[in-house]
Symmetry: C2
Subunit: 477 residues, 2 copies
């Protein structure tokens, strides 16, 4: 069990160019999951990865689903029964490359360019998520080459539908609970704090997404013949949605904040000392002025405070020129970002009650839920998280940052709910990687540090004192 | 000059079936002005009317315009120089018949059906405006047949672009001021009070139509990554538009009501005694509850009070399902109905100032005017209006109602501004005529009473004591 890490890291250095070549081979396959025209490409990408995992000793298999193929791979042992069992998750599908004419080189012709952090690889999927999933596959390859085995039990799960809503994921997890059983899941689909500082994302906000339509007159009315004497759903909906927040940015739905937890002093201290560059954050959106809930920092607002945003609204005439109608209805899509302990059902019910208390005369609401998910918080005292932190620290020479994330990563909740264990979000992307945009890139330095970190974390997992000393601590809160 | 009316009315009765046939011939031509595919149909309709006017002795002419043909026709005399000169306006173009599958018979196959008021004619354009313009042409025909002449000077102006914004109307008026000179204009494109009660519309509201876009972030943002910490233009626009009116329905733009006149006691009395059926008015919109400016009746709200309506709004994601974005901008179309004395420019400026005082941080407004028109009010003491009222009263056996109209009829303002005289809005439609909708109809009783009223009004015009005793009184207010 005491297999040294140093030769594994040396192997990664020695094989770096070959690792880049292997990643480029994967990037050349336009595995766009949302477009049926790329069906043979997603199959080709799945086959390439399965063959690659098999070539380093995994029992690897492609599974058909109603959507894109799912890959599972098991390292056959001989890690001892006491060793932890880690499930590695990644996705081999990519976003469509549109708008193609905004790319400086072909989106599926991986290109090396120089940047402020050295060489970078430019291609669709470079960081999301082909480059990131290759960090752990390359770590496995190096361990296997040097020691002939991996130091812990490993299962790999690679999906091909992450960019198109993962319709097959939960049914697959349900149908393969035993084959996917593990102690913890490692997901590499997030970012570092900056080029020199690794990070683990331990808080993800949840989501409630609702579509509300306010119906008034039986049909669009002539605004001359009726204007001023009948209810106008567009005026009413704007007025009512305008009341969702007060002038201090506080959501006005009763009980909305009841379950919201304040940060611990330790977290608040850590976040205050992160050196978060608020101006750069706002500039990335073309903005200059911090706004939001009064008395909170920007980082609190996006990581640990709930939010309420209108994502879309439409009513009446939206074409060229003037059409003088009073619309029969007005519709909006709105969503709430939730923090740990907030219950999506309770928030949804609160919104419905808020709207119903404001129903204008002769109007009715049509309210549609587009789903919800609870926030996720990984207990920072988890021994797996501590092991991952040690692995990152030994690789980078500095402590990783424990980050929040304003968005949701639904697979975390699915794994928790169906398979019953934690996920650790250890990723190697940077903010400026242009994920989902033209000229997506992955810094080769991030790729290198990612492979080495994955190798080091495997070593730390193997060195954990006792397997299952602490039960999983993820709170799907 | 003392040509009796009675034989003219007898002639209209005797020739009623032929008049219906002539109207049906016009209705069979699908003269849809907005659709270039119907270009030959609009030309055919213009030719038919020109030939018809020539056949009863008019000097009739078709004029090409950049759009649809314009028809002018002059009765060559011999009405004495002291006789008034009346310009009759109508339009021969029609709205598209869509949705065609909602019609019970072909929109251009005029069909007679029975209804609560006797026989009705069903076709696109039956009342708007082919049936109405034929009321005065048939009155001319009967006068000419019985007396060999008309009792006053008459010019006819028929346009073919009323349903598509009248782009050629004002240039044509400008270019033909002398040929179109008259003392007053008769327009038959409005309604009666009810099947038994004629009406003259003497107040029309004006309009200011504006498109406002609020620009915030430089691009659509991920609502997870940014939500709660950046400005959301959709939330901001709804909040700001929600402040346009207070809970009493009063527009909150400073000085908005400064120039609004209260009704005279006489008008208020007349309106209060009209027996306006508020429940039926609301039911026609599928509603039950009167709403609007507090302390006003529904009829005041639509005839004599200004209004503010959102006609359209859009922002962000409006497709199926959920997309978690913070939109970069939000846009609305809004319009104000104006009453006499309100200045469109002042109202527009007031709105701009209202918005600018509420500009959210880092946002900017893009404000586009889609035009404006002042309200119109015809002085009720005009001798032409009094003559028209006498003609209607003698035909129907009851006093006509002086009505307001919540909408605008732009030709009234154009004639006032360019030709320099009043219009009298004397129409014979009913509220339930389904103008612009499938199964548009015109009651044959309205057609008959319309022809007879037009004949009687000609007689009353001829009997006016002195031409130009009173100058035109229209106030484009």
């Amino acid at each position: 069990m005491t297999m040294p890490l140093a030769p594994v890291l040396e192997r990664i250095d020695a094989q770096f160019d070959q690792a880049v070549d292997r990643l480029c081979a994967l990037l050349r396959i336009p595995s766009v999951s949302t477009d049926p025209a790329h069906r043979s490409d997603t199959q080709r990408a799945a086959r390439l990865l399965t063959d690659d995992l098999a070539s380093i000793g995994f029992q690897a298999e492609v599974h058909d689903t109603p959507g894109q193929p799912m890959i599972t791979a098991h390292w056959p042992g001989p890690a001892s029964d006491a060793a932890p069992h880690i499930l590695y998750y990644g996705h081999y599908d990519v976003q469509p490359p549109d708008p193609i004419d905004m790319w400086d080189s072909g989106p599926f012709e991986p290109t090396i360019a120089d940047g402020p952090h050295g060489r970078r690889l430019i291609a669709r999927g470079a960081v999301d998520d082909k480059g990131q999933l290759m960090t752990f596959i390359e770590a496995f390859r190096a361990w296997q080459a040097v020691h002939g085995e991996l130091p812990v039990k490993v299962t790999v799960l690679l999906e091909g539908e992450e960019e198109s809503g993962s319709p097959s994921l939960e049914p697959f997890l349900e149908a393969n609970k035993e084959a996917l059983a593990a102690d913890v899941c490692m997901i590499s689909d997030t970012g570092m704090w900056d080029i020199d500082t690794p990070a683990i994302t331990y808080m993800l906000r949840g989501l409630v997404y609702v579509e509300v339509a306010l119906h008034g007159p039986s049909h669009d009315l002539h605004s001359g013949m009726y204007g001023g004497a009948v209810i106008n759903p567009a005026n009413e909906l704007t007025r009512i949605l305008g009341e969702l927040k007060d002038e201090r940015g506080v959501v006005q739905i009763p009980k909305f904040y009841d379950d919201v937890l304040e940060l611990s002093d330790a977290e608040a201290d850590q976040w205050a000392n992160l050196g978060f560059d608020e101006a750069a954050f706002l500039a990335s959106a073309g903005l200059r002025t911090p706004v939001g809930e009064a008395g909170r920092t920007s980082i609190e607002r996006i990581w640990s405070r709930p939010a309420c945003d209108i994502n879309g609204i439409w009513s009446g005439y939206t074409g060229q020129g003037a059409k003088t109608i009073i619309p029969a209805r007005a519709t909006a899509k709105l969503s709430f970002r939730l923090v740990p302990q907030q219950d999506p059902g309770k928030i949804y019910d609160g919104l419905v009650a808020f709207l119903n208390r404001r129903t204008p005369p002769d109007c009715r609401w049509e309210i549609k839920s587009h789903g919800g998910s609870r926030a996720v918080r990984v207990g920072t005292e988890s021994p797996y998280l501590e092991a991952a932190m040690r692995g990152l620290e030994s690789t980078f020479g500095r402590k990783p940052v424990l980050m929040g994330c304003g968005g949701s990563i639904p697979v975390v909740g699915s794994i928790q709910r169906i398979l019953g264990f934690d996920s650790l979000l250890v990723g190697f992307g940077l903010e400026d990687d242009r994920v989902h945009s033209p000229n997506e890139k992955f810094e080769l330095r991030c790729f290198e540090m990612g492979m080495k970190s994955q190798a080091a974390i495997l070593s730390e997992f193997a060195a954990m004192p006792t397997r299952r000393a602490t039960p999983p601590r993820t709170t799907v809160a």
